[in-house]
Structures are given as C-alpha cells and as structure tokens.
C-alpha cells in the first residue's frame, strides 16, 4: 500500500537503517569507568533486506535494537531510520518492534491488540478493524479476533505481536529474540511464517537472535557481535536461494555458513576472555 510520506531526501537505494559509529557507555558509580555496551558500531540495513544480529549475552545486540527504536539514546554516533532520526521515525510510526515477550495488554481482545498502534494514531474503528483482520489473516490468526490474550498459546500470542508491529506499515521491523521463549517446533514454524511475511510485505527486518541456525535460515546478512565492549566483528553474507524451507538446513551451503558463524562467535569469546 503506497501512502504519501514526508519523504526524506534519500535515493531509493539508501539504507533504511543507518548506524554510524555508535557507542553507548552506561555510567559507572562515582568515577569508575562505566560499562561500554557498544563500541563504534557501524551497520547499514538495505531496504527490503533481512539482517540478523547475533552474539552472546551482553554483546549489545538488544541495546543496538533499542537505540534504533528510540528506546535508548547513544552516547556517541548517529542513527537514521528512513533518513531521519529514530525519534522522528518513531513519532511518524515508521518503526515496528516485536519483543521476546508478546506484551499484549490482557484487557484487550486479540483484534484490539493488533490494531492498538492504529488506535493510538487516531484511525477510525471501521478502517482499523478492516486492516486488523487483514493482518490477522497474514499471520494465521483468523478466527481469534475476539479471544483474550490469555486464551492463546505462546506462539499465537507472538503472531499477534508481529501483526501489531506491522499494523502501521513501518519502514523497519525490529525483532528482539521474538521466538526465544518458544519450543523448537513452534519456533521452526514461526521462522517459516516470518520468512513468508517478509517475502509478501517486503518489509525491512532487523532481527536479534542467539541461534546461528535461525539467523542463517532467515537472513540476507548475519552480523556477528562480541561483548565487552560490544562490537561487530564480522558480517556474513547469506547467498542461499529464496524462498527457503526448513529443509534448507540440510544443505551443505547452509551448514558451511553455520560453521563459519560459530567459528566467528568462538573467536569473539576467546578474544573477550
């Protein structure tokens, strides 16, 4: 769906998310050095691409995602989303965020949860419910419009959270370990559905995960990070053919990429210790 936007002066191939030399230092107690959560991070995410951030706990991948969403401010460096600062992009509802916790307010039925961002924007009821039903079809939740969140399984709740994040047609979908709390079978299934949604909507995705296999399966690029200080050590291009299937994981090319990612992660550990 095309809609007029306050288009920033950027060419069509400009990155949707551009992170330039970003550092974030959590202030220490009384003069101590403080924790360097991110150290001179550079990253650009091309329009329509799927990029994963991977690394051990404490490497700053979630922190980076929160900075892009204007939930945190960097100590140094700049970030743009669609050519503007994260705050402007957020206020223009250009950012969709899926957290590990589905965070569906329990007093709203599923459809009302999915259309929450549209309601906050002031879209009238008929229009937002039409859009909400369309989104619920997209994520495979048709028929559960009137259910309460607590009546749904964890996987279904996370589908609703994805539909909600997509409701305003954001330029970028930020996902912070969205499937981390799910069992392996549900997780595999949602991976495939996310790939299909990415294909269908063409939305740009920046995805945080602990699983190198999940990252390789879904992504165009896998960004490997190391902790203390949080740094990007390597960007692995994933040139596997699309659409990908769960069986893609049996291919030699897939397994080579996973091995490469694991080597990079282990090297990062060795350096950090």
């Amino acid at each position: 769906m095309a809609e007029p936007r306050p288009a920033p002066a950027s060419p069509a191939d400009a990155p949707v998310v551009d992170v330039r030399d970003v550092s974030l230092v959590y202030a220490g107690d009384r003069g101590s050095a403080g924790l360097r959560a991110l150290d001179h991070v550079r990253l650009s995410v091309a329009k329509g691409s799927f990029v994963s951030l991977i690394g051990p706990s404490g490497c700053g991948k979630s922190t980076l995602l929160r900075i892009v969403a204007d939930l945190l401010a960097p100590t140094a460096g700049t970030v743009t989303v669609g050519g503007v600062a994260p705050k402007a992009a957020r206020l223009a509802r250009q950012i969709g965020f899926v957290f590990q916790d589905p965070a569906l307010p329990e007093w709203r039925r599923i459809l009302d949860n999915v259309v929450l961002p549209l309601e906050l924007r002031g879209v009238d009821r008929a229009a937002r419910e039409a859009r909400g039903r369309e989104l619920m079809r997209l994520v495979g939740l048709e028929g559960f419009e009137r259910a309460w969140p607590r009546q749904l399984s964890g996987g279904m709740r996370q589908r609703a959270a994805i539909a909600r994040a997509l409701s305003t047609e954001p330029r970028v979908l930020l996902m912070d370990e969205p499937f981390g709390a799910l069992d392996q079978i549900t997780r595999d299934r949602l991976n495939m559905e996310l790939a299909a949604i990415h294909e269908e909507t063409g939305v740009t995705v920046l995805f945080v995960t602990h699983s190198i296999r999940e990252a390789v399966l879904l992504s165009d690029k896998v960004v490997v990070m190391t902790p203390r200080p949080g740094r990007i050590t390597r960007v692995i291009d994933v040139a596997l053919a699309r659409p990908r299937k769960l069986a893609t994981r049996d291919d030699d090319a897939f397994q080579d990429l996973v091995r490469e990612g694991n080597r990079e992660l282990e090297r990062g550990y060795a350096d950090a210790l």
């Binding site: 206020l91 957290f99 929450l116 009546q151 749904l152």
Partner: protein, 267 residues
C-alpha cells in the same frame, strides 16, 4: 491452529447448581443446630435467642427495621463513593509524583491506623448530628484503601507494554487511559471491596456514637432495653446489606475486568 481458546461464556443455571448448593446446605445445618441447641439446653433468650425468635422480632416491625437499614446503607454508600473517589485522585497524584508520595505517604498510613471509634466522636463534633457526620466517617475510612491501591495499581504496569506504547508514539493521556488505568483496575477493585466492609462498619460505629436513626442506633437502643431478638435481627440485617453491597461491587468488577485472571470460571 494449535488449540481452540477455552469458552468464557456465562454458565447456564445447571452449571451454577454445583456452586450454589454447598453454602445453602451449610446455612440449613447451622440454623438447625442453633434452633436445636437453644431448645435442648433451654438457653435464656438474652444469651441466645432462637432463630424463630429473631425471625419473629424482625416481622414484628419489618418496615421500621428496613427503614433504619436504608439509612445506614445510604450513609455507607455515600461515604464509599466520596472516599473512594478522593482516594483514587490522591493515589493517582502519588503515582505520578514520587516527591508527593514520599511527603505524604507516612502520614496517610498513620492516619489509616486511627481506630474509627476514636475518630468518630471528633468528626461528629465537626459535622453535626445529621447524616453528614456519618457520611464523613465512612468517607474517611474509604479514603485510604483506594489511595494505596490506586497508587500501587498505576505503578504495576508491564514495562514491555510501556515500551510498546512508546514505540507506537502514544501520548501521555493515551498511556494513562489505555495502559496504566486498565492495569490498575484489578487493584482498584481490591480497594473497593475493602471499602464495602469499611463503609458499613463506619456508618454503624458513627451511629453508635450519636444518632437517632440507622442500624447502629437500633443496636444501641435494643441493647439498653435488652431486647435481644431485635438486636440479633438488626445485626443480621446489617450483615445482609453488607453482602448485597459487596455483591453489587463484585458484579461491576465482573463486567469491568472480564479479562483478568481472577475472573476465570471456577474449576
């Protein structure tokens, strides 16, 4: 789909029956034992009137007793509404201003511990002998539970849900009305249910101290005359208005927060 959600339709009468019969059986057994004990041990009426005597005392002048009950219920409900509303406002102010909360909270808690029998005479001196002083006592009692629960409720929102609202560019008013207030409602109902009990107690105690109407007045005068069956009747009516009032609030709660875990159908 992995699983259908459990139905949350209201159960038909047939499904209510298993919930309703145990308390009815308990009631019949207790009243039967009471009547039997009074007859068998020949307990004097001023010590323990039998259920039949209490029933007769009630029916001797049912409208008078219910009239007094109406006065007490009016005082209780008025103070309940006023005190809860004022408490909710103060609780909201506390939730939004930590300085205000720190400054006033110790005194609010201290005031909350004042026994109603100690404060009632003072309030009656201030507000006079009419209904106003009784309503003032119940207002005073209803104030603190709502102030505390409102503050706690408004602070107990889910941080990730707050992040969702932030990313969706919610205004401060939208955050309050669409997130913090709904999160606070289960706490608000805890406070309201406490206030139901407090406000009936407050009204009766205030009538005890000084009144010419109301159930507290009936209890006081029948006690002086040792008209024990009538005193028992007044006591039971006061319990009944408390139960009715409580049922009303519980019904409103069911309609207001059907989504809350406490509203699950009993297993």
């Amino acid at each position: 789909m992995p699983s259908e959600p459990a139905a949350i339709a209201r159960p038909p009468l047939a499904r209510w029956f298993p919930l309703v019969w145990p308390p009815i059986v308990t009631f019949v057994v207790i009243v039967g034992l009471w009547q039997g004990a009074v007859s068998f041990f020949e307990i004097p009426v001023y010590v323990l009137p039998s259920p039949v005597r209490v029933w007769q005392a009630f029916w001797a002048a049912p409208t008078t007793l219910l009239g007094h009950a109406g006065i007490t219920l009016f005082e209780a409900m008025s103070g309940f509404v006023l005190g809860s509303a004022l408490g909710a406002l103060l609780g909201t102010a506390f939730a939004y201003s930590p300085v205000l909360a720190r400054g006033f909270m110790p005194y609010v808690i201290a005031a909350n511990t004042i026994p109603v029998v100690a404060i009632a005479p003072i309030i009656i001196i201030w507000f006079g002998h009419g209904l106003a002083s009784k309503i003032a006592v119940t207002t005073f009692l209803s104030f603190f539970p709502l102030a505390l629960n409102m503050m706690k409720g408004l602070q107990s929102y889910d941080r990730v849900v707050m992040d969702v609202f932030h990313v969706a560019a919610a205004t401060p008013a939208q955050r309050f009305f669409k997130m913090r207030l709904p999160s606070a409602l289960p706490y608000v109902f805890v406070g309201l249910k406490i206030n139901v009990t407090f406000s009936v107690i407050g009204a009766i105690v205030a009538e005890f101290v000084q009144a010419d109407r109301g159930l507290g007045f009936v209890i006081m005068t029948t006690y002086r005359m040792l008209a024990m069956p009538r005193l028992w009747a007044a006591m039971i009516v006061s319990a009944l208005i408390g139960i009715l009032f409580f049922a009303l609030i519980a019904l409103i709660e069911r309609l207001a927060i059907p989504w809350h875990a406490s509203m699950r159908e009993p297993q």
